[in-house]
Symmetry: C2
Subunit: 462 residues, 2 copies
Amino acid sequence: MPSLEKILQSVLETVKPSEQEFRKEMEKAEELIKRIYKLEGKHVKAVLGGSLARSTHLKGDRDIDIFVLFPSHLSRQEFKKEGLRIGKQVFNAGKFEIAFSEHPYVRGIIDGFDIEIVPGFDIKETASLQSSVDRSSFHTAYLQKKLSSAQQDEVRLLKQFLKGIQCYGADLRQASFSGYLTELLILKYGNFLECLKAVAEWKKPTVIDLENYWLEEQALEKFRDFPLIIIDSTDRSRNAAAAVSLQQMARFTAASRTFLKKPSMNFFFPPKTKPLQLKKVSMHVQKEGLIVLEMPYPKGLLADIFWGMIKRLARKLHSALEEKEFKVLRSEAWTDEKSLATITIDLQANALEQAFKRIGPEVFQKQASENFLKAHKKPLSGPRIENGRWIVEELREHYLATEFLKFLLKKLSKEEVKELRFLLKKARVLNQKQILKLYKKSPEFQEHFTRFLKGKEEFLEY
Amino acid sequence: MPSLEKILQSVLETVKPSEQEFRKEMEKAEELIKRIYKLEGKHVKAVLGGSLARSTHLKGDRDIDIFVLFPSHLSRQEFKKEGLRIGKQVFNAGKFEIAFSEHPYVRGIIDGFDIEIVPGFDIKETASLQSSVDRSSFHTAYLQKKLSSAQQDEVRLLKQFLKGIQCYGADLRQASFSGYLTELLILKYGNFLECLKAVAEWKKPTVIDLENYWLEEQALEKFRDFPLIIIDSTDRSRNAAAAVSLQQMARFTAASRTFLKKPSMNFFFPPKTKPLQLKKVSMHVQKEGLIVLEMPYPKGLLADIFWGMIKRLARKLHSALEEKEFKVLRSEAWTDEKSLATITIDLQANALEQAFKRIGPEVFQKQASENFLKAHKKPLSGPRIENGRWIVEELREHYLATEFLKFLLKKLSKEEVKELRFLLKKARVLNQKQILKLYKKSPEFQEHFTRFLKGKEEFLEY
């Protein structure tokens, strides 16, 4: 087993951009900024943002984020128009696309770099924020002042660790740690190792407040119900960790403990999941209660938005099944982000008893009792009183989960928002044969499905 | 349909003791009291108690309760000794038995009357109560003063109504309305019909406080969590309805509404349950998940005490099944009070999936997490994190309810109190054939089992 020191050194060598690489990126960024200054327009500034500006980016990222700032008195409409115009001009005749965050911006590829030209307002303090995009410059200014160059590398280690254990990224797929959070954590705890030691001892809730804006009780009161509270150093009213789910916070804690006990490169660069053999999968699939729903990936939709959609859909189906008394062990949405999406649901059993107990109103609610007795004249059993409430047993409308899901998909395909309606119409509940066929066809699904069937935190095996 | 008036008149004719009957009972009571006064002993008084003294007893009851009162300075030991001695002397060479309430007393039969000779203390106010038995004289004195002779008949109607809908009796079997409560209700509402009209509108909680001892909020605060609060007119600190379960309170309310809508003699004198045909029972029994446990009735045990025991046992089995994730629809203890007792349990299904989800500690509880991970090295699936907690799926130890019950009975037969141990050793889980055999054999079980299978409040059919 290599020593902890060697592991960290070796990781850093892999993830830190070389001097040459870094210089090239900065040169490209400066060139673009100069070009923007020369353009006619209402903008007053162009500044480099993101992890490149803070020198905390990972090797091969090749992301250049440039903020074009406009005077804050500009109308919203003019701001949008001007912002897009400048962005488009940067790419000249090159390829670009218009993306949407809180407002539209332009992104594209130049000389192999991923360039984003993001319009913003030139403001003096976060209190005057007009959009969360404007926050980025404040983050950059703060970190450039506070983060030592040694700490920049510690941020890189932590980012790669979080990536390895699938806890990196504030997008809807991960609901996890953003780059900015990683930087704040290193500022708080000093370096990567101290950070992991602290995280291994995290409690719920945990409060981190680098600038001491609040007393701990105040922060707990203000950001109640968040498991992790990390006050934004540039904006005391914001929990920078609001997007971090309890799930991801807990996984970070558990992985930190496991790593500290038995350090390994695997945490940073996890081995590829070895797909289960078809025979094994076939055994799992025979288990009554394992359901796979297949949908096509809708062309042209951003992955992040689509992840949000199918995760919401999965939660909806999960709750609907539980409401009908099906016992859901697990459910998980997944997509390969190009042609395929699935929702996998593991049930205690696919079939329920045909009879179910309907719990009516309290006897003391006179009108409701009368209505209930009128509405249930011929139950299988009852009406009777149990614990002061009226009870009847009746036949279930749906007692097979698969059948209920088909019914539900059809129903939702008429009610849901447009994008989902399309998905729901195309969605189908796979039978055993179809699941195996899908498994054979898609290597990405193989990996996902294997992870689901094993149902084990992978870092426990490193 | 006979008019309401005719029904009540006819019920009263049936339940009111005749002049002659009443005179005979009173003569017998006076004779006994005289005899007690003549006996040598430390007693200072002998008084008639119970519903005979209040003239609210039902025809054919033939109960004579006589309280023998001792000076309150007597030692507990001497009181018990003297009380029993007097009691025994009353019966002379006749047959009697020693029964136990809070302290021992003597009861037996003389000339066809059920005689109870109950020792008590001669006290001036309920504040000096030494035993709940002593309360009875205060109740009698209060009711003799307050209850008009017309109201005595209204009490009889109400008692019979409560009997008919199985809501009469403060014993452990019924957990329901005592004679004293019936009397207080008539005092409160004036007569039988007004009482039913009021009960039909009862809410949860309901407070009745004839002597206005408390403000309503005070009573609600003092007797919190009781659905029905009826302040004992002779003791402001006591909820005379403490034994009334929510179940029985609700049933009384529902039956009152049904009766007022469609009055019938059936409420007072319910028709015998017509047992289901064997063929129908056989169909029910084939339903997976219907379990009958059979036990012998232990010789010499008072029915009231035994009811308490098997009801407690049924609740225990019910909870144990639910803890193991079996879904219990209903459970009911029953005995014919002579040779047979059963516990019937209706489950959603007898078999559970063999795998189950074990929910471990929160990840943030470090030591507990370590222990959990150590203890579950080779689960079927997991360990993984769900909502911040460790989860594993494992094989169930017991996945058939019948097998689990057999295991449980064996285990309890070693742990429980002596009387229950005997029962538990003899208890057996019946198979389908055995259930049908029992059904054929016992007419009492036929009635009980039919009611259970129909699972419907009988008064809804009157």
